[in-house]
Symmetry: C2
């Protein structure tokens, strides 16, 4: 069948993969994706053909998936978390007009805002923003403006890609912008290696978060003005007391 | 075991429930929740005891779950979507300090922003906000301010609870606020009855969205300035061209 499934496999463990995602990978003749994510599911499909491309070759990977589907095969393009949240759904769909004979289906998954949030409690229990601190594809000025607006709206915030070797200072810069409108005592948290070996979490203040040195395997949560730390949980109440 | 699992079952179909959520419900002696959600999983557990309370009695339901767990039973408090996104995780955790002998585990699920987004394409492919238009627990002024900040930050936006019989005009008011900073041609979409009978979706402009009469079973998506409609998909590109 000329079909590409863009499949979210959740945080990484087998028990976070929905039956819908399993069914899509069952039907696929080839599993394709970033090597780390293909490795996560290869154990479930030991005999299945795989195709991987390194980081930063996402467009090439999407094109390969669509070309392979056009040749009559069924492909599952595997993403960690959800394919629609900084995943492969949007780069693949941008190429779809070139491949009118290929059928595409997006299969959602549990993104890190949800799986990491569950480990901390309910940091996103009321209105929230999700912002990536990676400026590989987005000018830093756009990220700064979004951080400032998220703080002014008193949203809870989830940060993806808070840092990398080349972007060691991004989290500190982001905290400085947030501190213009948020208290240094704002309850924050981070989760590292969700559902994988070395899973770890911490609840701390925004002032303390500013001093943390985190890596790209970490997801960061910043509370709204109502977020509290209680019994080791980070909780943003559903009701809002202005 | 003195334990409460707060379980996200995803959009509604059996194929959207993760194995982690299934395992939690397998272990539970009682399934508890809002009647519609308990009905969605009762078929999987025909012999299992259930306890339901109507809408607006969420706190009573959380207290019942914690008291039942304190008496030595294992309870699964079932939520649609993800328990951390306008779900039962935060009201339950707020009561936890009164129940030190009870163990709590939050089990994430696929929330409507993701499952609805997948049906439309990739509306949340770049930074986004999630805002509920329900003013049952939140003053309308807070919602207005968040809408204004989300528009100023050029976020993609996902709206939960866009309307109900008592809140027929909320979506129109929200669109009017967004139209101060967003073009009337902004690409929008909505999805109704995700993964259930009568599933439906539509892609339209922000000006058209303002005139729609939607209900509480609908999730709404509003694009950023870069969001496009292509081949029937709503796509927010990952890269950002300012």
């Amino acid at each position: 069948m000329n079909k590409v499934y863009v499949v979210g496999i959740g945080p990484g463990g087998e028990d976070g993969i929905t039956p819908q995602a399993r069914a899509a990978m069952d039907q696929a003749e080839v599993l394709c994706g970033y090597p780390v994510y293909v490795d996560l599911v290869k154990g479930l499909y030991p005999g299945k053909e795989t195709y991987t491309t390194p980081m930063r070759q996402e467009l090439e990977r999407c094109r390969w998936a669509l070309e392979t589907a056009r040749s009559g095969r069924t492909v599952a393009l595997v993403c960690s978390g959800d394919p629609g949240v900084y995943g492969m759904a949007s780069p693949l769909l941008e190429l779809v007009p070139e491949f009118p004979e290929v059928d595409v289906e997006i299969v959602p998954g549990v993104t890190a805002a949800l799986s990491g949030g569950a480990l901390l409690g309910a940091p996103l229990g009321h209105d929230f923003c999700v912002i990536s601190l990676s400026d590989l594809l987005t000018p830093w000025e756009v990220i700064e403006r979004r951080l400032a607006c998220a703080a002014k709206g008193d949203f809870a915030i989830c940060l993806y890609n808070p840092a990398s070797k080349k972007r060691a200072d991004h989290l500190r810069w982001a905290c400085d912008i947030l501190l213009r409108d948020k208290s240094p005592e704002t309850v924050c948290g981070w989760v590292r290696n969700i559902s994988r070996t070395g899973q770890n979490r911490k609840i701390l203040t925004l002032a303390q978060l500013r001093e943390e040195r985190l890596d790209m395997f970490t997801t960061v949560f910043i509370g709204s003005s109502t977020t509290r730390s209680m019994d080791g949980w980070m909780v943003t109440p559903r009701g809002y007391q202005p």
